[in-house]
């Protein structure tokens, strides 16, 4: 429809050849413009790298844009020891990893009941989960903080794991319930004809079929939880329990860090996230296409 309107408006076939010629040059201009924009996006990283390997004296004499006069790695090692980075890495891995696995399991169980079981009132239940996903964490944080103190879970990784398992699975339930509501009935009926119970159907039929989607969900939960800030900030006050972002933010808040240490700390804190992104990218694109082909 739209195409015909355009042709009707401008029947200019003679201009076509000159048009193509012009485009030959303009495509290079467009490439140059987009490349400049993309490089501009990377400038903050260049600034960070340049200053992460500078000594504080070097920074105060040469300023932020000078080339480091020596390859100074003490900023990195200072930050590494000051915050006990391996412990922070472990805390972040423990929290994000547990949330990813538990969140996917809870999402799958919920979605099985809602999408395939079609339990009564499922539209309302899915709506509630969707709503929960949109809530500001401030609307939950004080009661959670108070309750965690009462039951002795305050300042434990477990408190954050439980909270994010629920928050992430709210999204996962919403997503998987709609995926499962289109699950082919014939497959389920064939399985129950063979005498398979609900539990067997879930793990032998539904789970293998959903595996690509679940893998994507697992990765999303992991990265989202890894990057979370407010709830870990409130719940984890101790050096031994904090996550990577919280550790960096609390050091910065204390104004203990000079510019090179800030950059060194930021660099160390970014590396795991960038690594995960590189590792997961293949799975993500494969998972998304696998989901689309169905």
């Amino acid at each position: 429809m739209a195409v015909t309107t355009i042709t009707a408006g401008r029947p200019k076939s003679p201009r076509k050849s000159s048009d193509r010629h012009r485009r030959g040059v303009s495509r290079w201009i467009i490439l140059a413009l987009v490349t400049i924009a993309a490089l501009a996006m990377l400038v903050p990283f260049v600034f960070m790298l340049l200053n992460a390997f500078k000594s504080p004296g070097d920074y105060s004499t040469g300023g932020p844009l000078s080339w480091p006069s020596e390859f100074y790695t003490k900023g990195l090692s200072n930050y590494w020891h000051q915050v006990n980075f391996p412990l922070k890495l472990w805390n972040s891995l423990l929290i994000a990893g547990s949330v990813a696995v538990l969140g996917v399991v809870v999402s799958l169980l919920n979605a099985y009941a809602l999408g395939i079981g079609r339990v009564k009132g499922r539209l309302w239940i899915v709506g509630l989960f969707l709503l929960a996903n949109m809530l500001p964490q401030e609307a939950l944080i004080y009661p959670l903080y108070y309750a965690a103190k009462q039951v002795g879970l305050y300042n434990t990784q477990l408190s954050v794991i439980i909270i994010f398992t629920v928050i992430q699975s709210a999204f996962g339930t919403y997503l998987l319930a709609s995926v499962l509501s289109t699950f082919p009935k014939s497959v389920l009926e064939a399985a129950s004809l063979d005498g398979a119970g609900k539990w067997t159907v879930l793990w032998r039929v539904v789970f293998p079929n959903l595996r690509p989607t679940l893998a994507v969900l697992l990765i999303f939960f992991f990265i989202w939880t890894w990057n979370e800030f407010l709830i870990p900030l409130v719940m984890l006050i101790d050096n031994s329990t904090q996550t990577i972002p919280v550790a960096l933010a609390s050091l910065q808040g204390d104004r203990l860090m000079d510019a090179p240490t800030t950059n060194a700390g930021a660099l160390i804190s970014l590396i795991p996230a960038v690594l995960f992104f590189i590792i997961f990218q293949r799975t993500l694109s494969r998972g998304i296409t696998a989901g689309a082909e169905k």
Binding site: A139, Y142, A259, F276
Partner: protein, 321 residues
């Protein structure tokens, strides 16, 4: 036995409200068990705390001892509080920086990357450029905020850059001056956010039948006409999703503000979620903080409802056409 069950299932009409055969109902009851762990967790972590926050917003409480019920006093105080209005004014700025600019720029960038660079150059070039735009989205936003906080410091890299290009006269304490703090935070948020619409829209563009574009091109439609007549209408569903998720993210934004300015200077960059956090944990006014959180929650629900209604209406119009 099994035979009757299959035929019953086949006869079942598509409408969910239709009465189900009793056999089916018994099956549905069994599925409740699978919802049980999720439902219990949901009640403990989300339902209960949310109700508690709404209740606490009607009390005066420092977090120690028992809350005193004071009715709607917190809300009357809230609507007279200049900081509260300031924080919502700043939310509008956040929506511009996190929704309007990234969505518009993302539409143009995604279609340029997909149409021009992906087709006329190698697809690898397009995905390398896309990765550059997406990189900030991968990082913990607080870490990105801390790097930007240093860049924008008086002795930071941005002022250094101004010196180098001969604009040293513009040197400034970008985050410390109430007049430049908000625009600076907005700039950082655009940088953080832009990759998300680019990636979503590029995926959406792959859905469009290339023949549509080829036919239009043969007919002499230039890029802009094809963008308006084919690309935009085709990726409208994704545009809705991006606009909704980014708007909610803008209403909830906390980490970057915490890392960059802590809402300062003079509340110039304060946002509702930071205001609530500060009231809860620094001023220990739990009732008042709960009132801020409750209002924010209501606004988010209303915004989401409006978006979903618009999307629904749009889809219905499409079907009627």
């Amino acid at each position: 036995m099994a035979l009757t069950e299959t035929s019953a299932a086949q006869q079942r009409p598509a409408t969910p409200a239709a009465p189900k055969p009793p056999k089916r109902k018994r099956g549905g009851a069994g599925y409740w068990l699978y919802l049980l762990p999720g439902a219990l967790l949901f009640l403990v972590v989300i339902g209960g705390p949310l109700i508690a926050t709404v209740y606490l917003s009607l009390t005066k409480w420092s977090g120690i001892g028992d809350p005193t019920f004071i009715g709607f006093d917190n809300y009357t105080r809230l609507f007279q509080d200049e900081v509260f209005w300031q924080s919502f004014k700043n939310t509008v700025a956040m929506i511009i920086a996190m929704v309007v600019v990234p969505t518009l720029a993302g539409l143009v960038l995604a279609s340029v990357l997909f149409d021009v660079i992906g087709r006329k150059f190698k697809p690898r070039t397009a995905s390398a450029l896309r990765a550059a735009f997406y990189l900030p989205q991968v990082l913990p936003v607080v870490v990105a905020g801390i790097v930007w906080g240093w860049i924008l410091r008086p002795d930071g890299a941005f002022n250094g850059l101004l010196d180098v290009i001969g604009l040293g006269a513009l040197r400034h304490d970008w985050l410390g001056d109430p007049n430049t703090a908000l625009p600076s935070v907005m700039g950082v948020m655009i940088w953080v956010q832009i990759g998300y619409p680019v990636v979503v829209f590029m995926a959406a563009l792959q859905r469009i039948d290339p023949e549509l574009h080829e036919a239009a091109e043969v007919d002499g439609a230039n890029w802009w006409h094809r963008f308006k007549a084919i690309t935009l209408p085709q990726i409208r569903p994704e545009t809705f999703v991006v606009a909704l998720t980014c708007t909610i993210a803008a209403l909830k934004v906390f980490g970057p503000v915490f890392a960059l300015t802590r809402g300062g200077p003079e509340n110039a960059t304060n946002v509702p979620s930071y205001f609530a956090y500060y009231t809860f944990f620094k001023k220990l006014q739990v009732g008042y903080g709960s009132a801020i959180s409750t209002v924010l929650t209501l606004i988010i629900i209303i915004v989401a409802a409006v978006f979903i209604y618009l999307q629904y209406r749009n889809e219905r119009q499409d079907r009627e056409v």
